[in-house]
């Protein structure tokens, strides 16, 4: 829909000039009369750009901005008016010379929106399942380099958070909540029909700064994406069987359109900065805290390592470390060029993109990405044989420091010494500190090359029967290295290049898939039947090689690991995964009113032991288009579309890693007495199987006033059982977890609402408003034997999975100045687990987005507000007690100082007061470590301007200005409220200026 109106917009602003041109060029034969008039919509607004053809002559024109037209025709001719989004209208002239035409909006627009459901397509109107979609026009409105970032706030039921603000970092995505206690909660990604493994392949030894994970989805260029569809309910996901439990994300790349070759050039540049710095203590406040802490602990003479207060450091000095260390500006430049076109038989699109950016940290570091996309479509003259090929190659080059300075910037003493000395060298201040910039001496770099190819051949054997073969191959190759030169050490250690260390990783993953399918479509007496059967064979192989080199004769040789004195191959793994399935679908539609959709899959995965590989999954979906019932049509004339739909079915989850059912030993990566060590891999359990997820959904969809307002509401209830978990084990078992199925049931249910409305729709001004809201509820339904299990103190039946059992703070003891807690078990002692009975939940209560799109003449303005109601950990969680040599938020100023005080913060200590340390430690595991972190964020704002084009250049030019994360309204004061990873660089605030040229 949105796409349609956008096309209209484009159409309208391009057409006036074209219309003139066409009028001038139309040569008519006499005897003819001039017929003129206006075209309006049903509410009387003039319609510009309406196609108007004289039926007998095949000549035509286009209505002007005010809806007027004028054409030569004979009085007996018939005029045909047509326009996208409106019903075509045939008007006999019947001798008139003035004609007023009113076009009716086409209420079957929904029928034209085709959704990709993976193995088949379905129209928005006839779908029985739950499928959400984001198109290129929405993706282009935000300056993102990972496709998942484009979905944030735009889809109901899809909760996405970024794991770091650094380029190349990953995203957490949960579609309808957390289903699995311990197995993966990632959806299945399918790019152009080919499964795309989303788990990182890098060696965590090399990529610490990104939290060990580099999102492979960076290997897909957002600018090359035509649309992203997310499949949510059983009806849509059951055909993916064992891999559909957490939803399916379908990514489709752009295709060529037939016609004259069209060249698109797209350039933009972005500035970005870290946002939401913490309000930390100033030097006088900080020093006061330190001195008071020592005084509280009864220490009069400051110890030798208390450089901040013992006189070693200048006590008058102040540095805003957040500004100094993470206050840089990111510059990003993106350039894309594409050519597309073709004949009716063959279409092509070729696109190339290059992007580069630096980081907020001081010094040189950066990220570059280049990609090429090629899409080819061919169909035989009779249209029975079709061939599609897409190839996508992305090179992602990430060159980052080996450490994230965000945490340091928030904890470094404000009077810590200068970073550089007078000679411009790193300042070590007589060994009194670890210069944080020394971390930047170490470097992390990775180059990832991702090739995704897909070929589809279809052949119409007889009318209605299609044979199809889907083939895919993906290949990801990554080289990464972490270089730790001796210069990262304080020169005091006297370390030379003999202490330089290099880690190198080489990883690759290749996967092929083969999916032969048969599709049959038949119609009879109001009945439409679609049948699909197919099978899947997939194999994925993964290899990792890890090298460690130590001791170099010079630090200039660190890029060449063969120069190391000692080289060790510490990792050389080969994993493979094989997957096989048969699947099918039967869809029956009667009179376009009653639709039944049956899907099923039987699949097998090599991740399970003998006898446990195969399982069956399936779903039933149904829809009733009640707005087609004549009774309802008569009773509710404003109701242009009404559908009630529901589905129920079963999917599975096999995200547990390969070979877990084997009892095995793996290489330890170290050497003893000349022997490479062998390490037991895991606790042995061969008897585990699929995790099962039963999904139920009902939905109501309404279109009002000719679909001017579209409403969709869903209720879903997913129950995940036979939980595949790494059951946490006590350390005495030798491991911290065991792979097994657990007889527990997790339920996710919720309500999702989506509204789209064209509030105003005229050629001069358009206003479209979209809203989505998700209210999820996660709950552990049952867990037999929970009390005696290792989960006894982590989970509660009836509560969400993400809870933590915490102490309940009862404030500061006015006498001792130490935190107090409720003694739940009344034994007079505060201890875990008995007194940790307060349940904290950091999952979202509700979230959603509001999209506003305005079109004013050649301007298009878009806003996306994202909102989330949630609680999150605050600075107290995982923090250290105030009083140590570590800066703190200004919150700590309101503290207990002497008997009788009851400030919210307990007395400062340097760690010599065990009661206070213990008090703080419990405080960090209490209700006080959780704060409201709800927010409303202006996620995206985009202003586009279509330059008026001259008559004959044929060039279309658009300028745009986009903002990302410009404004966040939140009561959460300790960094980014959305962000869950403490100590990592939060998502950046960005402004982008760009231009698009089409000719």
């Amino acid at each position: 829909m949105r796409r349609v109106s956008l096309l209209m917009l484009l159409y309208i602003f391009l057409m006036p000039s074209c219309a003139l041109y066409m009028q001038a060029g139309t040569v008519l034969e006499p005897p003819q009369a001039t017929v003129s008039g206006t075209v309006t919509d049903t509410s009387g607004n003039p319609l510009a750009g309406v196609n108007l053809v004289v039926e007998s002559k095949r000549i035509g024109t286009i209505s002007g901005l005010d809806g007027s037209f004028s054409i030569q025709a004979s009085p007996s001719d018939v005029l045909v008016f047509s326009m996208v989004g409106f019903k075509p209208l045939t008007v006999p002239i019947s001798g008139r010379d003035k004609i007023a035409v009113m076009l009716e909006e086409d209420v079957t627009q929904l029928g034209e929106v085709v959704l990709n459901a993976g193995y088949y397509t379905v129209t928005e109107r006839e779908r029985t399942g739950n499928i959400s979609k984001v198109t290129a026009s929405e993706i282009e409105k935000q300056p993102v380099s990972n496709p998942l970032a484009a979905l944030q706030g735009r889809m109901a039921g899809v909760n996405i958070t970024q794991t770091s603000g650094l380029p190349g970092a990953g995203f957490n995505i949960q579609i309808r909540g957390r289903n699995s206690i311990a197995a993966g909660n990632d959806p299945l990604y399918i790019v152009d029909g080919v499964p795309f493994a989303s788990d990182p392949i890098n060696n965590t030894q090399t990529s610490g700064i990104l939290g060990g994970s580099i999102s492979p989805l960076n290997g897909i260029n957002p600018a090359d994406i035509e649309k992203i569809e997310v499949l949510k309910d059983a009806d849509a996901t059951a055909i993916y069987g064992s891999r559909g439990a957490n939803g399916v994300v379908l990514i489709t790349t752009k295709k060529g359109r037939s016609g004259k070759a069209e060249v698109n050039i797209h350039l933009n540049t972005t500035l970005g900065r870290a946002t939401r710095s913490m309000d930390l203590l100033s030097t006088p406040q900080y020093l006061e805290m330190r001195r008071e802490a020592f005084a509280n602990d009864g220490i009069e003479e400051y110890p030798a390592n208390a450089h901040d207060v013992n006189g070693n450091w200048d006590q008058g000095r102040y540095t805003d470390w957040q500004k100094e260390l993470i206050g840089g500006t990111v510059h990003r430049t993106m350039a894309q060029a594409s050519v597309s076109g073709g004949s009716n038989g063959t279409r092509y699109l070729m696109s190339g993109t290059y992007q580069r950016e630096n980081t907020v940290f001081p010094g040189e570091s950066g990220y570059q990405k280049g990609s090429v996309l090629l899409n080819l479509d061919h169909s035989s003259d009779d249209g029975r044989f079709k061939l599609h090929f897409s190839g996508n190659y992305v090179v992602d080059d990430n060159d980052l420091p080996a450490a994230d300075l965000t945490l340091t910037s928030r904890t470094l003493a404000p009077n810590a010494p200068a970073l550089y000395d007078d000679h411009g060298e790193l300042n070590w201040a007589d060994n009194t500190w670890n210069n944080p910039l020394a971390d930047l001496e170490s470097r992390f770099s990775s180059i990832t090359k991702t090739l995704t190819t897909n070929g589809v051949a279809t052949y119409e054997v007889v009318k209605g029967l299609m044979a199809k073969l889907n083939m895919g191959y993906t290949d990801t190759r990554m080289k990464d290295s972490r270089i730790l030169p001796s210069t990262r050490y304080n020169p005091y250690y006297g370390a030379d290049s003999r202490y330089s260390v290099v880690y190198k990783g080489i990883a690759s993953r290749a996967s092929w898939i083969l999916e032969p399918q048969l599709q049959w479509q038949g119609r009879a007496k109001g009945l439409k039947i679609d049948v699909l059967v197919g099978s899947t064979f997939q194999q994925e192989g993964k290899e990792q090689l890890g090298l460690y080199g130590e001791g170099f004769s010079s630090n200039h040789l660190l890029d060449d690991i063969s120069a190391a004195n000692y080289i060790d191959v510490n990792r050389n793994t080969h994993d493979s995964y094989r997957y096989q399935a048969v699947f099918g679908r039967v869809n029956v539609a009667y009179q376009k009113k009653y639709i039944l959709n049956l899907t099923g899959r039987r699949d097998g995965s090599s991740r399970f032991g003998p006898g446990r590989q195969f399982a069956n999954f399936g779903a039933i979906g149904a829809a009733w288009l009640f707005s087609e019932e004549s009774m309802i049509k008569g009773a509710f004339p404003f109701l242009s579309f009404g559908k009630l739909r529901g589905s129920y079915g079963t999917t599975g989850n096999d995200q547990i890693g390969d070979y877990q059912f084997f009892e095995s030993y793996g290489l330890g990566g170290v050497n003893y007495d000349g022997v490479e060590t062998l390490v037991p891999s895991r606790l042995f359990n061969p008897d585990f199987g699929w995790e099962r997820n039963d999904k139920l959904e009902v939905g109501l969809e309404l279109g009002l006033w000719r679909d001017r307002i579209l409403l969709a509401g869903n209720y879903y209830r997913n129950r995940s059982s036979n939980q595949l978990v790494g059951i946490p084990m006590p350390g005495t078992t030798g491991f911290t977890g065991l792979q097994a199925n657990l007889d527990a049931v997790v339920q996710n249910r919720g309500v999702e609402l989506e509204i789209t409305s064209r509030l105003w729709d005229s050629p001069k001004f358009k206003w479209e408003l979209g809203m989505n809201l998700s209210i999820p509820k996660n709950e552990l339904l049952s867990f037999p034997g929970l009390e005696t299990s290792t989960y006894a103190d982590r989970l509660v039946v009836g509560a969400p999975l993400g809870i933590r059992k915490l102490y309940l703070s009862t404030g500061v003891d006015p006498a001792t100045g130490v935190y107090r807690f409720r003694d739940y078990d009344g034994d007079g002692v505060i201890s875990a687990p008995n007194d940790q009975q307060w349940i904290g939940d950091v999952g979202p209560d509700y979230f959603g987005g509001i999209v506003n799109s305005f079109g004013i003449g050649p301007f298009a303005l878009d806003f996306l507000f994202q909102f989330k109601k949630q609680q999150n950990w605050n600075y107290i969680f995982n923090g250290s007690y105030p009083g140590l040599m570590s800066n703190k938020p200004v919150d700590v100023l309101d503290r207990w100082r002497e008997a009788g005080d009851n400030g919210p913060i307990q007395q400062y200590t340097t760690g010599r007061n065990t009661l206070a340390v213990q008090g703080f430690n419990r405080y960090g595991s209490s209700n006080m470590a959780i704060s409201d972190a709800s927010f409303v964020r202006l996620k995206t704002i985009s202003l586009m301007y279509d330059l008026p084009n001259s008559n004959d250049s044929g060039m279309d030019c658009t300028l745009y200005l986009q903002g990302h994360n410009l404004l966040t309204i939140s009561g959460y004061r300790w960094g980014d409220p959305e962000f869950t990873g403490g100590g990592r660089l939060p998502p950046l605030r960005q402004i982008t200026l760009g231009t698009k040229l089409t000719f």
């Binding site: 009864g298 390592n305 208390a306 904890t411 060994n431 052949y459 044979a467 250690y493 099978s535 130590e550 004195n565 000692y566 060790d568 793994t573 080969h574 493979s576 094989r578 097998g604 995965s605 090599s606 003998p610 590989q613 195969f614 390969d658 070979y659 084997f662 009892e663 030993y665 793996g666 290489l667 330890g668 050497n671 003893y672 007495d673 022997v675 060590t677 062998l678 037991p680 606790l683 084990m729 006590p730 350390g731 005495t732 078992t733 030798g734 491991f735 065991l738 290792t790 006894a792 103190d793 875990a832 250290s880 140590l884 040599m885 570590s886 340097t910 760690g911 010599r912 065990t914 430690n921």
Partner: protein, 461 residues
């Protein structure tokens, strides 16, 4: 068109049988980088590699590692051997000022990593029992070492945590709910494991440089265990046997050679993983400029050296910035790589054996014999012989000799203070936080949550 029909037929003929036919497509073998448990214990080389994992882990990361997270460094700060100069936010600070809580992550790591190695020992023992295909000599050697290492790790855990589970199987059903044993139960298991180990292990070393256990190594550990648990006679007899093996073990008279890898006074040492490297202890303790950034030998330790004690000269080294002076341990001198390695981490050496015998003799009333053993140690340090001490004086002298002979070696000082009930007297004035309950570390809170049978928590936590 005909061609296309043909293609379709081909497509159907290929597809249908494949789809219906092969279910073994998803059956999988292990990849080349992993071995089944069965394969590991059919081959002496791979079985040895499984054992090497335990030695390497003890060297690099667990319990007695010479790195900064090992008990050698932690307990030196927890007791009175090292003063701390590092960051207050580092975990070592918590140990230095005695504010170790049940949630302390280093304590949890000590616990979990130790039991992980115990699992590795048990996996080897069960693997050897199930698969008899390994040649007898290899079986006895590997089994003897696994038993020795299982006892060694349990011994340290019991000293750090008090009552602990003694884990002898890999079965997680049993180990997940295993309860704690008291001192006598632990002692019984330790003695059983070490005696069986001694029966299996040969007198000779199976590897060069004494980097793997032989019968005397097991016996020396048994002697220490018997001493710690108060079985003086057993400690004495075991020590006598080891000290009697003069063919293998020779008293090193030169202090500067005691820690060289070729020293004949060494019973068991851990070799570095990288050829040409030396010990982690040297990297942890030695600093070349002042002020130090982690630990330096404490004032009380340096002040307490007797005049002429050559260990102050040979085993410590001073560093000055012009105004202040600091000392670091210098038992291990080779810091970082050298052409070929000169020092390994010495775990058991003759010096301790003499001190064990001295203590056992003292406890059994043989004061003269005890003094003779102490004089062996003192003589090498250039100190005059002791003579005519009474019981109380001897105890003071013994404790002192242990302090100066074994400083910064795997927490000997801490265990001595604990065993002689002197911790409060010595550490009370130095550590404002001192409590008697600090004699034991807390059982990690996460473990108490995961296995309620480990409750109650140690006192005071």
């Amino acid at each position: 068109m005909i061609k296309q029909r043909l293609l379709f037929k081909l497509y159907m003929t290929l597809w249908l049988p494949i789809t219906v036919g092969c279910t073994d497509f998803v059956e999988m073998e292990l990849p080349p980088s992993q071995l089944t448990g069965e394969a590991v214990f059919n081959d002496p080389a791979t079985a040895t590699a499984a054992l090497a994992n335990i030695y390497a882990s003890l060297r690099d990361r667990t319990l007695i590692t010479g790195g900064s997270r090992g008990i050698g460094n932690i307990l030196a700060h927890y007791a009175d051997e090292l003063d701390y100069y590092g960051s207050e936010t580092a975990s070592l600070h918590d140990f230095t000022v005695h504010s170790v809580l049940a949630t302390n992550s280093e304590v949890a790591t000590l616990w979990n990593d130790s039991y992980n190695l115990i699992y590795a020992c048990n996996s080897i023992l069960e693997g050897l029992d199930e698969r008899m295909s390994l040649p007898g000599g290899h079986r006895a050697q590997i089994k003897g070492e696994a038993l020795f290492l299982r006892g060694f790790i349990h011994f340290y855990l019991s000293q750090l945590f008090g009552d602990i589970p003694y884990v002898t199987r890999t079965d997680h059903m049993v180990n997940a709910t295993i309860g704690k044993l008291g001192a006598s139960g632990i002692h019984e298991h330790l003695v059983h494991d070490l005696e069986e180990s001694m029966e299996l292990l040969p007198i000779e070393y199976v590897a060069a440089d004494r980097v793997r256990a032989n019968r005397f190594v097991a016996m020396a550990l048994l002697a220490r265990i018997q001493l710690y648990f108060g079985y003086w006679e057993d400690a004495l007899s075991a020590t006598d046997v080891v000290l009697g093996a003069t063919g293998q073990y020779v008293w090193e008279e030169d202090l500067g050679n005691v820690f060289l890898k070729g020293s004949k006074g060494i019973l068991w040492q851990l070799s570095p993983g990288t050829p040409g490297n030396n010990t982690l202890e040297a990297l942890t303790f030695i600093f070349e400029q002042g002020p130090p950034t982690m630990g330096a030998l404490s004032q009380s330790l340096m002040d307490g050296f007797a005049i002429n004690d050559q260990r102050a000269v040979q085993w410590t080294k001073s560093v000055t910035d012009g105004t202040d002076i600091w000392y670091h341990p210098y038992k291990y001198r080779a810091r970082g790589p050298s052409g070929s390695s000169v020092e390994h981490s010495v775990v058991l050496r003759l010096g301790e054996l003499y001190l064990i015998r001295a203590e056992a003799r003292m406890q059994l009333g043989d004061l003269e014999g005890a003094m003779a053993d102490l004089n062996k140690i003192r003589g090498r340090a250039g100190l005059p012989d002791l003579a005519g001490l009474n019981g109380e004086e001897l105890e003071t002298a013994l404790l002192r000799e242990r302090r100066y002979e074994l400083f910064t070696e795997f927490g000997h000082r801490w265990f001595d203070l604990k065993r002689f009930q002197k911790a409060g007297e010595v550490l009370g004035p130095l550590k404002p936080n001192w409590q008697e309950s600090h004699l034991l570390f807390p059982i990690p809170q996460s473990e108490l949550l995961a296995n309620p049978d480990l409750r109650p928590q140690n006192d005071g936590y």
